[in-house]
Amino acid sequence: MAELSQPLPEENSQAQGEWAQVAPIGILYFIHNFIEIVVNNVFYMLPILFVLWDKIKANPWIAVFIFAGILGFVIGFAVLSFVFFRYRLFDGSVEVKSGIIFKKHINLPFNRIQNVKIEQPFYYRPFGYALLAFDSGGSLNQEARLIALRLKDAQHLRKQISEVATETDNTETYSENNTNTSHVGSPLDETVINTRTVGDLAMHGVTSNRVYLLLAFIAPFIDEIIEYFSGKFAGWGLNIQSHIENDPTWQIGLYMVGLFLLFLGIMTVLSIIGAVILFWGFTLSKTHEKFIRRSGLINRHEVAVPISRIQVAIMKQDWLDTIFGRINLRLDQLNAQANVANPEALANKLMVPSVFAYQCRDILAHVFPEHRLHDMPFLAIKKMFIFRFVLWLVLPITIGLAILFIYHNDPNWPALLMTPMVLTALIWLRWKRWGFAYTDDYVYIKKGLFGVDRYCIPVHKIQRVAISQSYWMRRSQVASIKFYLASGSYSIPLIDETVAKQLQSVILYQVESQARSWM
């Protein structure tokens, strides 16, 4: 590690026109990156570990070899990534070449840079290095990162680029692996408009936990898991098999419920911890033209977004949120929907966790001043929605089940009756949740199943409108409408044809006659 802390050659700060390498400490970043990928995908690797577990137990040396192999691979990968990483600032743009097998060449003109972000992972801090990330705001793989620069070089570069790109109104964000925010200069006009207490965060952890996702993941392996544990318990003098065969049903049911609750409890605790780590010390502040979100216990994140860049406001409520009266407010920017799969995206999003309705309304008023999301009466969509899903979903499933039941001569026909009833009830619930409303300036959408999401879409930011209709919809004079925004697309299914067309006319007229900027 000693040579990593050696001073950086001076010419690296002068990367004008010539391809330059970053500091060797960047290897640590590549290792960190790789480990992060592994940790994020750990769920997918668990089954492999599970399968291999017995073999590993029988011969611990295998584990050592596997571990050493993986470690060697990671380090080799990181070193090679570092060796192949080149960057230059040339002709008004940042160019980055990277990749071992799949070469990537990014060319990002200064004036297209929307975000310049300086990050300092904890292992960079003692040596005074930093990472500079540029966000083009366009396509996702156009994000350029200069992996390891000296902090003052990075700051200098950022300043230089910002000067070039001032007319494009770029954002600067600063995030640090420490709560020390002394050199994050706060502009004088900045006012804090929302903070979250630990209680709020715990609430967020409770209401939006990922248990269901995990359950869905575990389902295919349930047989193996039961087998494995019953083997385990037998070793402890507990015979599950005999319990299941001999105990009364209610007792088994009780065991199951108990286990489930225990599981739920553990998951909830984990979820709360996650929420607290991510949103610790949450503040949302506002300058005259930007929202700044700061949060994080371990990685301190600071995200600044110009208010004019916000495309849509989404109020998300899971079913528990509806009981507790909390709302997760999200203010989406460019390409927000494409970003959803990226776990880092949540940390970089403008999101306010578990606020009350009145707080939500106050925050929203800063972004979309005339919005009426809180008291707008929503209109229902057509009941044809229920009919459509019964026809295309419930009917085929029921017929399939019926065939299976008859084929196997199964006596459990009440189950056959239950399925379509439950499904239809769910569809009815979904229909009940759907709603829409519009004025000249905003379109509102409401949807959900157990929870409910409300969307507030400013008409002047709409990029494109589409109306679609099937032959049968045309005959009943019903149509669906879809809006495309820079953040993604949003649709309202099955409304009156005349309403859809009127809505389309209103939108087109507003967009085309005002030609207001959507940025």
Binding site: S139, L140, Q311, L334, N335, A338, I462, Q463, R464, V465, A466, I467, S468, Q469, S470, Y471, R474, Y484, L485, A486, S487, G488, S489, K501, Q504, S505, L508, Y509, V511, E512, S513, A515, S517, W518
Partner: protein, 193 residues
């Protein structure tokens, strides 16, 4: 088919002074809902059908050739199911192509001063409208077959559409160029730079 020599002077009703959205290069028609659709090239549906069916035919020859070639025997089950499954896929594919043919015959567009609208579909139809002031960039593309018969595709990009681009296929090359140039000359695009 109309020519695009003249811009018709037909005012859209109940709009403010200073805002007009007349149909360009079309006979008449006012709102999008009673529009004047210019259909794409009359050759396009047939050619598109021909290309689609050729793909099915070539794939069929390859797959059936693989099954019935004299050099080595495939497992009996694979042979039995291979033919049936491919038959099913090919049939569905042909039906889809037939539907596409019908849909392509109805494929059209309407260029107005402020926006461009595409009408597509037959049993399932879709009317998308792209305001010109929201267009990021625009491309005229020609594949090898397109080049042979003088057709082109018009790609219109707006912000944030990574997956759902607005594409009008089967336009005569000069028509596509005309639409592109008309849109590029739009004043809103110049204002934004």
């Amino acid at each position: 088919m109309t020519t695009h020599t003249d811009v018709e002077t037909f005012e859209t009703p109940d709009l403010e002074i200073g805002f007009s959205n007349r149909v360009i290069a079309n006979a008449d028609g006012t709102t999008i809902h009673s529009p004047d659709i210019t259909h794409v090239s009359a050759d396009y549906p047939g050619i598109s059908l021909l290309v689609g069916l050729s793909v099915v035919a070539v794939l069929s020859v390859v797959i059936l050739g693989l099954i019935f070639q004299p050099y080595f025997a495939l497992p009996e089950k694979l042979e039995y199911w291979g033919i049936r499954i491919w038959g099913g896929i090919a049939l569905l594919w042909c039906l889809l192509e037939a539907y596409e043919y019908g849909a392509n015959k109805r494929l059209g567009y309407c260029l107005r001063e402020q926006d461009i609208t595409m009408f597509k579909g037959w049993l399932f139809c879709k009317i998308s409208t792209q305001p010109i002031c929201r267009i990021q960039h625009i491309e005229v593309k020609q594949g090898p077959i397109d080049r042979k018969i003088g057709l082109a595709k018009l790609h219109v990009f707006s912000a944030g559409d990574l997956t759902q681009t607005f594409i009008i296929p089967g336009l005569e090359k000069d028509k596509a160029e005309f639409i592109r140039n008309t849109i590029l000359q739009h004043k809103e695009l110049h204002q934004r730079g």
